[in-house]
Symmetry: C2
Subunit: 125 residues, 2 copies
DNA sequence: AAAATTGTTATATTGAAAATAGAACAGAAT
DNA sequence: ATTCTGTTCTATTTTCAATATAACAATTTT
């Protein structure tokens, strides 16, 4: 799985990494039960610092997407063992929905946008 | 319209302000053509610095939601005079959709989430 | 059993961003 | 004419992002 980091971006490196790992799982490049690379190996691979990868892993753990086993590694959780995050998801989605509405999109157009994104992600290639 | 700033939050004050203004417009508390308060008055009202409000206004202008008329004020744009932002919206939505998928939500559940948010916002009270 | 690898923790430094503060300017509104 | 507007400038403080080492203890590998 290919990760592309843009050091110049205004979005922090650890967030870029978090998002791309999530997208990689969503696309099926990685599966529940799989281990993520060690923070050191991954950092060396990406050319970033170990702590930057570590921060990303802990962000993923906070979201419930992986579990970090001390002195061992990071493992991708299966959806069934993830606690209910609908509350947090709602709060994360709200600003975007509001923005789309203000920009003039109606309900159907927003649903189309969501649908096309889901198909883009799930229709792997 | 009531704005609530949480200084302790990890999301910057100017972003909190931007999001709440957007939500306020989406909810119909403010309308296209309306003027936003002056940066000074708003800042005094919120108990924050003038430049923080100014930064929020420029963020809103970048999104196309308001226009800033030099030496005059900030005015809410109508949707029709907003250029096409679908490209940026797609990029903003993607990480959230991917996260929702990884957390185990299927297409229908995500659509439901979006629908409930839209109804919450548009069904004013 | 010994060596290597793991995540963790701690400290330190650098650079950028966030937020505040005060001041001054020129155009607009009253 | 006075006030108010957004703009611009400089400056400071604080926080965050990122890097850099180093050391520790437990797990894995050899």
């Amino acid at each position: 799985m290919i990760i592309q980091i843009e050091p110049q971006s205004d979005v922090p490196i650890y967030t870029q990494l978090t998002n791309q790992i999530i997208e990689g799982i969503a696309r099926g490049y990685m599966h529940p039960g799989d281990s993520l690379p060690s923070v050191r190996a991954f950092a060396a691979d990406l050319g970033v610092n170990m702590h930057t990868v570590n921060k990303s892993y802990h962000e993923l753990e906070k979201k419930g997407i992986i579990r970090i086993i001390p002195k061992s590694g990071a493992v991708i959780n299966s959806p069934v063992e993830i606690s209910n995050n609908s509350e947090r998801l709602l709060e994360e989605f709200k600003p975007m929905i509001a923005e789309a509405l203000v920009l003039g999109l109606d309900k159907e157009q927003i649903q189309e946008l969501v649908t096309s994104l889901i198909q883009d992600i799930k229709g792997k290639p």
